[in-house]
């Protein structure tokens, strides 16, 4: 029991660091879902692709700090095209968006395998080593993730709140038809939301490349947990995505540190099922009246 209390602060810190990475992925997913009503299952593959591209640029002697923005822009543009040519045509039936994203899983995942093969790649880490603070040991590259994640949250909430584009995006997410009526170009916003979401996936990928060895499935678990975080938080709400990420991060970390193997493998899904059962729309979203 004493051991549990000793390890609790570090376990919580680990959970929050995990949450920071989930949050970046979940925010991208939320943006896409909020505006397009599409759950992009292929997001995990975008994270993996981002990680490999950042690795490729860094090993081609680019600086990590340049490689990440470059890959973000590249995948952002890719996201625009994905939206334009595959998601937009099925817009009217959201479940078809799900099918399209499942198609993208297969395509991106296999392109990665075909180009890079099964080998593991290790990027030379920026910010190696760790800091010790109040008895906690925190790796510097994970602190970087936390920092980046906070910057993303602040920038995103400022943009959504105070710029005209951000306001238009929020309006579209709330009521598409009304937004279109007041002259918002919702189609353009769809593409932008998808592009920004893909860019955030690339950012998460770059950070992953700086944390772990790369293999073709490196993004998968982030996708699954970010996804759980998104739904727990209430799909479509940025604050919900962040809170959901924290809940899932803590659940994973605490279950892994203190629970048995079985508990650890079902913990996030049990959290999801409990939350959805009591609040079908997630923690941060109230039930809308059925549109009649």
């Amino acid at each position: 029991m004493i051991a549990v209390w000793d390890q609790l602060p570090q376990a919580v810190a680990n959970g929050l660091l995990l949450a920071a990475l989930y949050a970046i992925v979940a925010l991208g997913l939320t943006l896409i879902f909020g505006v397009l009503d599409v759950v992009n299952f292929g997001h995990g593959q975008l994270v993996t692709l981002g990680a490999y591209l950042v690795y490729a640029l860094v090993s081609g002697s680019f600086s990590f700090w340049i490689a990440v923005p470059v890959v973000m822009v590249a995948l952002g543009l890719g996201g625009l095209l994905m939206e334009r040519f595959t998601f937009r045509p099925v817009r009217s039936i959201p479940i078809n968006g799900l099918l399209v994203s499942i198609g993208w899983i297969a395509i991106i995942g296999n392109v990665i395998s075909a180009v890079w093969g099964p080998d593991q790649y290790n990027m030379t880490r920026v910010l190696p080593g760790s800091l010790s603070f109040a008895g906690l040991s925190l790796s510097r590259s994970q602190l970087l993730v936390l920092g980046v994640s906070i910057v993303v949250m602040v920038v995103l909430s400022l943009v959504l709140r105070f710029t005209s584009g951000g306001k238009a995006l929020r309006a579209t997410a709330q009521n598409r038809e009304a937004a279109a009526l007041v002259g918002i170009r919702t189609r353009r916003l769809d593409a932008i939301a998808f592009g920004v979401g893909a860019a955030l996936a690339a950012l998460a990928g770059g950070l992953v490349a700086n944390l772990f060895p790369l293999d073709p499935s490196v993004g998968d678990s982030y996708m699954v947990y970010a996804f759980v975080a998104l739904i727990v938080g209430g799909a479509g709400s940025a604050a919900g995505a962040v809170v959901g990420s924290i809940i899932v991060g803590l659940a994973v970390s605490l279950a892994q540190t203190f629970g048995s193997t079985g508990v650890a493998s079902v913990a996030p899904f049990v959290v999801l099922i409990i939350v959805l059962f009591f609040r079908p729309a997630g923690l941060f979203r109230t039930d809308h009246e059925a549109t009649l």
Binding site: D37, V39, T86, P89, V90, P94, I95, N96, L98, L99, V100, I102, G103, W104, I105, A106, I107, G109, N110, V111, A114, V224, F227, V228, I231, A235, S260, T261, G262, S265, V266, F269, V270, L272, I273, L276, F277, P280, A281, E289, A290, L292
Partner: protein, 577 residues
């Protein structure tokens, strides 16, 4: 000649497939067929829940896993006879699906998909960590099944001579035949109605939630069958066999073959097996190609291959025109109840607030038999919200709704519809993939049996839908769709219909038809509660008018009284005229 070909019994095709299975001795072809049939079984399960039930369940493969594990564990560890173990496996998949089905009922669309996926992932996690399921390693199946002997015939169910393949084919045909039978029943039609439009289905008296669970459970039974067959084929099961990647393949197979079509899964499964097992299409790029295929099919050809193949076959072998059923336009026959002076619908103190805004505020009025009552008011006055409360789609915060003298405030929408209180929708709702006649059949299903003319044909004739009766509702013009909406409400045999802006968007001719229909309804003893902005129509047909503003009743009375009321002129009519 063409008619002769058309009369080919479907069994001939099936017989041919059986012969192929039996006569092709080549092990590799046999294997391709077996793999294809197993995929077809999985896809058939998803087809029931999604293709016919309209619910995209991502737990299908995991439910099959439940069945497979129960079957294997009971047969190997508990020593149950194989047949009993199989039944127990399938039953447990069904039981688990009832539990999950009820827990997921409140969700629809993608949230339903995600919740089912969460259950599936948790189940895989559980199987990976439990001793009895062999954790991640998995467990061996009970071995070969016994050989069936019927007189001189023997059927080796595991046989390399195609016995197992034939068994799979028979199982698939039984499943498909079962589904075909279900679809011909009233319950099957209700299933399709819920798939097409849950709200409309409820409004015509279909207990939508019950049918959603039914679709989920039927799908789970099929998944259970698929799971057992998979276990028997591999002779070994392990958690990741029932995980996400298998699900993705099942989705690919169904989308490829065509969802909502009985033979879609078979075509998809055989094609998939042919492409991957035999022809090795794409080699290492296989999955990439299937990924692209799923996107292209979704974007450009969402009905799946079977649909287009059969459409092509239909071009070659056209169906002879159906014998038209003629019925004379006649009096509409609402269900009994007789013409009494007592109030049919009594509304008292009805109140509903949405986030602080009182959409409906202390509204009371009554509607008698065979009366046409108009509800008017500016946009946002709470008219549609009032309809939602009266028809049972939304629960009021306070107040009461009484119908034929009894309180119905707590009844769900489909129950109210079954008692004769039926609504239509402002944006026309139909069951788009079904024909106009099928739409009406579903609506008329709850109607008490009535001697004399077929009520559906009569409504077709009365509403002038004869020319359109065999077209899918999705092909109707806006005006026709609105007409169909009214016709659906009437077809239920309603004693009162709530019409939400039936004239909006109609041209002058259609408005005239509508006016005639409304008067016809009243003559037949059916009451009408009418939300309408078309003042000429309202003033013309209504016996009484209720004026709403900001959720409150500001005036009530005959058309003459209301149009003279100063508040009404001020708030509404003045600006409208």
């Amino acid at each position: 000649m063409t008619t002769g070909l058309r009369r080919l019994p479907p069994w001939l095709g099936i017989l041919a497939l059986c012969l192929v299975v039996l006569l092709v001795p080549d092990e590799s072809t046999q294997n391709t067929l077996t793999v294809g049939l197993i995929w077809a079984l999985w896809a058939a399960s998803l087809n029931i829940t999604w293709g016919y039930g309209g619910q995209f369940s991502m737990a299908q493969v995991a439910l099959g896993g439940v069945s497979a594990y129960v079957f294997v564990i009971l047969a190997t560890r508990s020593g149950w006879p194989v047949f009993l173990a199989i039944v127990a496996g399938i039953v447990s998949a069904a039981v688990v699906s009832v539990v999950i089905g009820y827990m997921c009922l409140r969700l629809s669309g993608f949230r339903f998909a995600i919740m089912t996926l969460a259950f599936a992932l948790a189940g895989v996690g559980l199987a990976s960590s439990m001793e009895i399921t062999g954790r991640t390693t998995g467990i061996s199946a009970p071995g070969p099944w016994p050989t069936l002997r019927i007189g001189p015939l023997t059927w080796d169910l595991n046989g390399t001579d195609g016995g197992f393949t034939l068994l799979l084919l028979v199982v698939f045909l039984l499943l498909t035949g079962g589904m075909w039978l279900v679809l011909r029943t009233r319950q099957g039609r209700a299933l399709l109605a819920v798939r097409e439009d849950q709200l409309l289905a409820e409004s015509v008296g279909v207990a939508a939630r019950r049918y959603r669970v039914l679709a989920f459970v039927l799908g789970a039974v099929a998944a259970g069958v698929a799971g057992v067959c998979q276990a028997q084929y591999y002779q070994f099961i392990y958690p990741s066999l029932f995980s996400f990647s298998t699900l993705v393949t099942v989705i690919v197979v169904l989308v490829l073959g065509g969802r909502g079509l009985l033979f879609g899964p078979l075509v998809g499964g055989l094609l998939y097996a042919l492409l991957t097992n035999t022809l090795h299409i794409g080699g290492q790029f296989e999955q990439m190609i299937f990924g692209a295929a799923i996107i292209l099919l979704t974007v450009f050809a969402r009905h799946g291959l079977t649909y287009y193949l059969s459409a092509a076959v239909r071009l070659v072998l056209p169906r002879p025109p159906a014998e038209p059923v003629r019925a004379e336009p006649g009096p509409l026959a609402p269900r009994g109840g007789g013409l009494t002076d007592a109030a049919l619908l009594e509304i008292s103190g009805l109140t509903k607030a949405f986030g602080g805004v009182r959409a409906v505020d202390d509204v009371s009025f009554t509607v008698g038999s065979a009366a046409v009552v108009g509800v008017i008011g500016p946009n946002g006055a709470g008219k549609t919200s009032l309809f939602n409360l009266v028809s049972g789609f939304v629960r009021p915060d306070a107040g009461e709704v009484r119908w034929e003298g009894r309180a119905i405030t707590g009844l769900p929408a489909f129950e109210r519809s079954r008692r004769g209180l039926v609504r239509t929708f402002q944006r026309p709702r139909t069951f788009p993939a079904l024909t106009v006649r099928e739409n009406l059949v579903i609506a008329a299903e709850g109607r008490p049996a009535h001697p004399g003319a077929d009520p559906v044909e009569q409504i077709v004739a009365t509403f002038g839908l004869a020319e359109l009766a065999d077209r899918p509702a999705s092909a109707l013009s806006y005006g026709d769709a609105k007409r169909l909406g009214v016709a659906l409400a009437v077809a239920t045999g309603a004693r009162m219909v709530l019409l939400d802006e039936p004239a909006a968007g109609l041209n002058t001719g259609d408005v005239e038809l509508l006016r005639r229909d409304l008067l016809e309804l009243r003559k037949a003893g059916c009451s009408v509660l009418l939300i309408e902005h078309h003042m000429e129509l309202v003033l013309d047909v209504c016996d009484e008018i209720v004026v709403l503003d900001a959720g409150r009743v500001i005036a009530q009375g005959t058309p003459a009284e209301v149009s003279a009321h100063p508040d009404v002129i001020d708030a509404y009519l003045g600006s409208a005229r």
